[in-house]
Amino acid sequence: MKLAILSESPADEAALRVLIEGVLGEPIQLVQSALRARGWPSVAQVMPAVIRHLHFNTDADGLAVVVDADDSVIHTETHEAPGYFHPRCRLCQLRAVFRQTVKRLPPARGRQRIFRGVGVAVPAIEGWYLCGRDESVTEAIWLNGLAVGKVPFTRHELKWRVYGTDRPSLPHEINCALVDARRHAVDTRRLENDFPGFRALANDLRTWRTLLNKI
C-alpha cells in the first residue's frame, strides 16, 4: 500500500509508520515523507491542500493523520451514529474535513479518491507509547478523570514517563517512540482496546485495505 502520513514531528511519523505496518501486517510504501502540520488546528487547516496534492500529484492510496486530543472532547461510540458530528471532537472534525474535501475532487490517476486513515491520541501520543506497560494510562481512565473534573495524568507526566524528561532531544524522542511502536506492532489488539482513538485509525486502515483488494 502506498500512503502518506501527516504528522506533527519526525518522531510521530516514525512511530506511526511502524504502527500502521503492524495493523496491516505488511510493509507500506511512504509516498511523500515528512508532511508536517503545526499541531491543532493547523492540521485541519492544511489537510484539504494535502489531500488535493496527494490526489492529483501522487499515486498515494491514502492519507493517515493522527493528532493529539489535548483537552478536546473525546470521541465516543455516540459520535459514530450516522450523521452525528461533534464540533469539538477532533476525530469528528478531521473526518468531516476529509469527507468534504474528497467529495469535491474528480477522479484522478485511475482512482476515485484517496482513502482516509484518521486517529486521535488521547490525550497525547505518549499515552499510546505507555499502553501495556503503565496500567494507569488508558483512554477510559482519561475520560473518567474528565468526567469527575480531575485529570488522572498530565501531558507533562506522560512525557516524563516515556522519555525520562519533558525536554527530550529529537533523536531520543524518536528512539523511545520506535521502541514502543515496535512493541505494539507485534500485536496491536491491546492498543486498540485501551485507546479507541487508535482503533479508529486501525479500522480505517483495514477498511481501506479491503476496498483496495476489491479493485
Binding site: S9, R36, R38, R155, D166, R167, S169, L170, P171
Partner: protein, 311 residues
Amino acid sequence: MVGPNGSGKTSLIQALLLLRGLTKLPIKDAHGTTPPIASPEIDFRFSPPLDEIEVQMACSTDFVCDLLKVRSPSPELWSQAMSEILKIRSYLFDHYAMGEPARREVGAELTGNAGNLAAVIARWQDRIPAVLKRLETEFCRLLTEFSGLEIVSLHDGRVALAGRLADNNERVFAENMSQGTLYTIATLVLAFDPAPPSIICIEEIDRGIHPRLLREIRDAFYRLSHPASFDEKRAPVQIVATTHSPYLLDLFKDHPEEVVIAQKEGLEARFERLIDRPDYQQLLSEGPLGDIWFSGILGGVPQEKSPEELK
C-alpha cells in the same frame, strides 16, 4: 522573549552586560549609595546558593547608569557571584564575520558576533577532539547535506572553517556557506562548550533557520539550560533569547514559564511571563501559541495608529 521592535528586549540584554561591566569595577559603597537623581532602578536577583545577594543598578545622570548597590551576607559570597556575573555573554551572530578565516590564537571562546568561529573549532580540534566529534556528528544530523567539518590552515597563519559535502565529498568554505548553516554551527559550539558561560543572551535565535529546524535549535539551547535532560553533567546555563518567530514560539507551548512577552506602552517597557496570565491555559488550548501571540491578545505586538490618529 517576544515583543515588538523597541519594546526593551535588547535593553534587557544590555542591562545584563552593564551589570557584568560594573561588576568588574570596585564597589565604592557596598552597603548603599543614594542615586543623585530620581531614576529607574534595576533589581537583580540570583538563584541559590547566591539568593541572599541583592544587587541594584541605578543611574547617576539621565543617560549614565553606573551605580551598583550590592548587599551580600559575606564578601566571599559576593566574590562567588562576581565570578558568575563575569561569565555572562551576549551573541548576535554575523555570518559575514563568521565566514572569514581567523587567527588561531583567538579561539579561546566564541566572540559576540562569532567572528572567530574557525579559531574556536581549530582549538577544539587540538585540545578537545572528542567534543568536536560530538558537535560534528550533531551538525551532520541536522544538515544532512554535510558529512563533516574541517579546519584548513592558510599560508598566512590563519585557519578557515569548511564543510565536506556528503554527495560529492567537495569542500565548502565557511564564506560560501549559507547564513543558517553558519548560525547552526555557532549554536552547536555554544551548546557543546564544556565550559559554557553562566548566562547566554542571544538575539533572534531563529534568524536564518528553516522553521522545521527550529526544534533542533531550541533543543541545542535546552542542552545548555537543562543539561540533565541531555545526559550532560554540568551546571545549567541561563538562556535569554529573543525571537520574532511564531513558529519558534509554538515550541514553547508546554513551557509557558519560559516565555516572556515584552510590551511597549508609550515610553515604558513591561515584561510579563506567559504563565503569569491567569487565562494562559485556556489560551493555549485554542491554537498554536505563535498564532495566539500574532493575534495580539497576549500583547507583545507593534502598536498601530487608527486612521483618525494618522490624520
